[in-house]
């Protein structure tokens, strides 16, 4: 999951020799990596505890729940992980606010006008109509889609999950159909998130031939020059432009 990031503060290995092979670019800072870890950990845990409760009629679910000493325990784990997911969201939103106050107006991971042509170009590449993948900047259409999906998904799952957690309270304030709808949305939204992550996200960060078995960026927060050139050539070019003595577009205004 990608976060709206601080523009990569390039760790320029001071007075590095002409060879730039060992040079890395920061993609996610420590805050963003912690946020991602909280989100990923809670997501996988929520999937693991949510699925057996959703498909309670299956023998494997029943065995799994028995292993964790009962549905009450599994339910409590599920809710605790939900709280962890809320914490990740609060952390992220707080982080954005602090960054904004500090004057950061960096490359947003939100959809922009350039994404549609890039998406079309990428589809053409996939279909074999063009030879080159589009030259992506810091965030490709898919990474923006991931971020968008995570934002909307967390919002919906947390909202409906809380309604399901406190139905007595909710139905005191709101009509009963709110709970009925929440149950449906929680069910289908979970299915959508699960498929999007396991098919889409896991392809780009695990199964993609270039990164298999795993891209290390979620741990190190850094991309090598080669990775930058392959997946984010336009961002790399921007950095190289910026490092020229004259000119360069300084995005960080402090």
């Amino acid at each position: 999951m990608l976060k709206r990031g601080r523009p990569a503060a390039v760790r320029v290995q001071a007075h590095a020799p002409t060879s730039r092979a060992g040079r890395t670019y920061e993609r996610f800072n420590i805050h963003q990596r912690v946020q991602h870890f909280l989100l990923a950990f809670s997501f996988l845990g929520l999937v693991a505890t949510g699925l057996p409760m959703r498909f309670s009629e299956l023998a494997i679910s029943q065995r799994f729940v028995a292993l964790l000493s009962g549905v009450t325990v599994v339910g409590n784990i599920h809710r605790a992980l939900g709280v962890m997911m809320i914490a990740a969201a609060v952390y992220h939103i707080g982080y954005l606010i602090v960054m904004y106050r500090r004057g950061y107006r960096g490359t947003p991971a939100l959809f922009s006008r350039t994404d549609w042509p890039e998406f079309i170009a990428d589809v053409k590449y996939c279909l074999g109509l063009v030879r080159q993948r589009p030259r992506f900047a810091r965030y490709s259409w898919y990474e923006k889609f991931d971020y968008f999906g995570a934002a909307v998904g967390v919002l919906l799952m947390v909202g409906t999950g809380l309604i399901m957690w406190f139905p007595e309270l909710v139905t005191r304030l709101l009509p009963g159909w709110v709970v009925t709808t929440a149950v449906i949305v929680h069910d289908y939204e979970a299915c959508l998130a699960l498929l999007a992550i396991f098919i889409g996200h896991f392809y780009w960060v695990h199964l993609h031939p270039d990164v298999y078995p795993m891209s290390m960026v979620w741990l190190t927060g850094r991309l090598s020059e080669e990775e930058m050139a392959r997946h984010h050539p336009r961002e790399l070019a921007e950095w190289q432009n910026r490092e020229r003595p004259v000119g360069g577009n300084d995005e960080v205004r402090r």
């Binding site: 409760m53 549905v71 005191r172 709110v178 009925t180 449906i184 959508l192």
Partner: protein, 311 residues
């Protein structure tokens, strides 16, 4: 003339004495027969023998009972006559058509009136008022649930016994014998998706996942005094359902009861929710379908590009 009168008197006397004697013999025979039956072994000598029951032309198994199971049942100590008081020797060999059990249009009703009512008066009264009781006892609807339909007859076990039909774990299956039956649902206008909505409910999920304290049909709807939802005496009447839910769900208001009903999201019921469901399903198809296609194509292209690079 006098002789004729005398003869007539004598004859009348004789006939009277004779008929009285016949009645006497019959009555004492009945009593003797019944007193002999006080130990159920007498009955079971024949009725536990499946071959004998068959040989006597008994087509269904109702005249045969499993001795072991009967002795394990809650009523084993009562013997046979407590519930079958009207056995008479003359009618025993041959099923008499004027026998009270068979003159009543619903024979089991007669059994219950004689058998269950004696000891279970409170339950019988509750049942009698209920929707099941009114239909069965007053409207003579054979399809309406009766004592024996839920409890069985010869092998009745206490509800605490896991093998009992009325044990908590068996109650849903027992109720659904009728309430999942399409013909009955149509005929009596029963709630359509009782089985499906219960299967999808959180209560059922908890039961499946091994939770100890889970409600079943009777927890909310009651046992003997069951009424339709729009009857004010019903425990799930819209005005009262919050009280019922509140027994487990502290602070449940009326809206809580409205959120969890046997109304199923479908094209005919709760259509708005059906739309929400359909929209979500299409969202999944529209998002995940192309995503999967792009992933597969991208994998193919990347692999081919690598092979070319390496070659």
């Amino acid at each position: 003339m006098r002789g004729h009168v005398t003869l007539g008197l004598v004859f009348t006397l004789l006939v009277g004495v004779a008929s009285a004697q016949v009645e006497d013999v019959a009555q004492s025979g009945n009593q003797r027969f019944i007193s002999e039956l006080q130990g159920e072994e007498t009955c079971l000598a024949c009725h536990s023998d499946v071959y004998l029951a068959r040989a006597n032309g008994v087509k269904d198994s109702s005249l045969w009972l499993d001795e072991t199971l009967f002795h394990e049942s809650a009523h084993a100590d009562l013997g046979c006559v407590a519930c079958h008081p009207n056995i008479d020797p003359a009618g025993h060999q041959l099923i008499r058509e004027d026998h009270p059990w068979f003159t009543d249009r619903v024979p089991s009703v007669a059994i219950a009136k004689q058998a269950c009512l004696d000891c279970h008066e409170k339950e019988y009264e509750d049942y009698h008022e209920s929707i099941h009781g009114v239909n069965r006892l007053e409207k003579h609807e054979l399809a309406a649930a009766f004592c024996t339909d839920c409890h069985g007859f010869h092998y009745i076990l206490p509800a605490s016994d896991e093998r009992s039909w009325t044990h908590k774990s068996n109650i849903p299956a027992m109720c659904l014998k009728c309430h999942a039956e399409r013909g009955l649902k149509q005929r009596f206008g029963l709630t359509k998706y009782v089985a499906e909505t219960f299967q999808e409910s959180f209560h059922k999920k908890r039961a499946e996942l091994g939770a100890a304290e889970v409600p079943v049909c009777s927890t909310c709807h009651g046992h003997h005094a069951i009424f339709p939802r729009d009857d004010t005496r019903s425990t799930v009447h819209p005005g009262k359902v919050a009280v019922m839910c509140g027994e487990c769900h502290e602070g449940a208001a009326q809206g809580f009861g409205e959120a969890f009903t046997h109304t199923r999201v479908s094209t005919t019921e709760m259509r708005w929710f059906y739309f929400v469901k359909q929209a979500h399903m299409w969202l999944i198809v529209v998002v995940i379908g192309p995503l999967g296609a792009i992933v597969l194509c991208n994998a193919g292209r990347t692999l081919r590009a690598r092979r070319k690079r390496n070659a």
